[in-house]
Symmetry: C2
Subunit: 356 residues, 2 copies
Amino acid sequence: MKKLINAVENVILEQLQGMALAHPELKVSLEPKYIIRADAPLTDKVAVISGGGSGHEPMHGGFVGPGMLAAACPGEVFTSPTPDQMYEAAKAVAGAAGVLFIIKNYTGDVLNFEMAAELVHGDGTPVQTVLVDDDVAVKNSLYTAGRRGVGTTVILEKIVGAAAEAGYDLDRCAELARKVNRYGRSMGMALTSCTVPAAGKPTFELGADEVEIGIGIHGEPGQYRETLRPVDDLTTTLATEILDDLAYSRVLREWDRVNGAWVEREEVDEPFAAGDQVIAFVNSMGGTPLSELYSVYRKLTEICTARGITIARNLIGPYITSLEMQGFSITLVKADAEILSLWDAPVKTPGLRWGV
Amino acid sequence: MKKLINAVENVILEQLQGMALAHPELKVSLEPKYIIRADAPLTDKVAVISGGGSGHEPMHGGFVGPGMLAAACPGEVFTSPTPDQMYEAAKAVAGAAGVLFIIKNYTGDVLNFEMAAELVHGDGTPVQTVLVDDDVAVKNSLYTAGRRGVGTTVILEKIVGAAAEAGYDLDRCAELARKVNRYGRSMGMALTSCTVPAAGKPTFELGADEVEIGIGIHGEPGQYRETLRPVDDLTTTLATEILDDLAYSRVLREWDRVNGAWVEREEVDEPFAAGDQVIAFVNSMGGTPLSELYSVYRKLTEICTARGITIARNLIGPYITSLEMQGFSITLVKADAEILSLWDAPVKTPGLRWGV
């Protein structure tokens, strides 16, 4: 295993120490581990909080700051953070406007965020939960029941973070988050595996010319393996699955803050259609050069244009990664005027910054 | 060779087409290849122009925009652009305030930028040239005589671009650029090679536990190979070489815009000393996860602090890359009040953005 680390057991600790040194505008707690805005606690704004396994940097810790997340809770690599991390982060940052937990749909994350939501509620702080489940590749995997939460998470955190900054109340923030999730779909592929430090060997093996289509962000299997094809073909495969995805329906479990209980609600994604505007996000899995992402974007633009879909905004680079994995993912989020306006709003985080 | 490309011969063309689609705030010329600010030609500001082989993205094309470069000229992968690219880019963007060519010290780049400078001068446009030669690892390599131009280039382009935006005239811009180069030093190391598309195989081979210390950004050899050590040790090795570097003296060739001739001038770098403030730049060679760079930064902070050197600003991420190569480089640039103020000034490019 070739990695820029010291002892395997200190990897996350030392990376957080580095973040704390590099970004004095954030507050980094090492026990329990969380990253919060330095101007916490927020007095009159909703605290948008996310978290998940480490190894996807800059997500989530790199998205903490004005206009995006109020707090992020990093677990060990590809391992959910614990409820006490989420609870302590919420206590440190939240004010009377309450807490919105953004949860990527993986079994461990869901269980732990649910426990944290109950703890936060127990303190009398208003709390809501929203699941992100946008991966069209597979409906179940090692880590999740239902679709996995992937690239839409980044777009959602930006948009809902801007809404919280603009003074949306908790219910409106949650409603907006659900809309972005209904509007967003993603799919990824890998050229190579990654190696989890504690495992010491690649998560999976691919042949010299082999790629995995529909890969997850933890190296979990996708739809199929095949021989590497030109980037235009790969882009077409992923974009077509995203754009052809129909009204995906499932039952989501969410916290009812009024009654203090879990409720189930049917959610149906809205299909893409000619005339739509979208935010297009071409993401590196971590080890793929930026230059290759532009080739993906080139073809993606052509595909969208042919369907009468306009890319109104784009994001291109490594934002939701799988350590050093080579490959890319595409996320498309249907964008109405509200979403575009919130996307354009100022954001100041280590990973995404504009307008300030 | 596993890459997200179509035909090898179209790699740069298609990436530029992708950039043009993604960034309508830039103008991308495909024949000859260059990227310029969309508000060109500049009327009363110096046009800071750079370029070099492709494969180092986001440098240089991703640094075009208000507050940084006026134009960038991409060559084929790891191959210098041609004089006509530089000349045409200068013609498209420059006004009466003239052109400053920022040249990384590689034999091909130097020769071609020198020809371009003569062509620009021939048109009656004021032109100056400044070399960047900041790599303390080796004084000569396959590509260069004297120290190679590496990470300081990114910092210099930001600072001098801000100066041009602020209305510095050509002579002041050139003087400032020389100062930043005198103040900046870098060194890098690689965990893995990269593969140039046209070559189809890795530039070099490293064993399973082997790393290369002092690597160049084209995969050219460094100082030595050794077995992988902990990141703290590697960071210490690189930072120590940078911080211990003495008054490096060499003769640089520069264009004398008044007399229209090449002149040679001795340049002496200023050593680091206790009490200095620096901009610290921890760079991924392309394939290294962001999280590992924070571990580098953690140790780098400790080393600087122990020497009485304060990191006043930092930049952490993949900014001057070698395709998918894994590894990192450290750049330290001594920063006086002028440099810090220009670093903090607004910049709006695909690769670096803040304040706007």
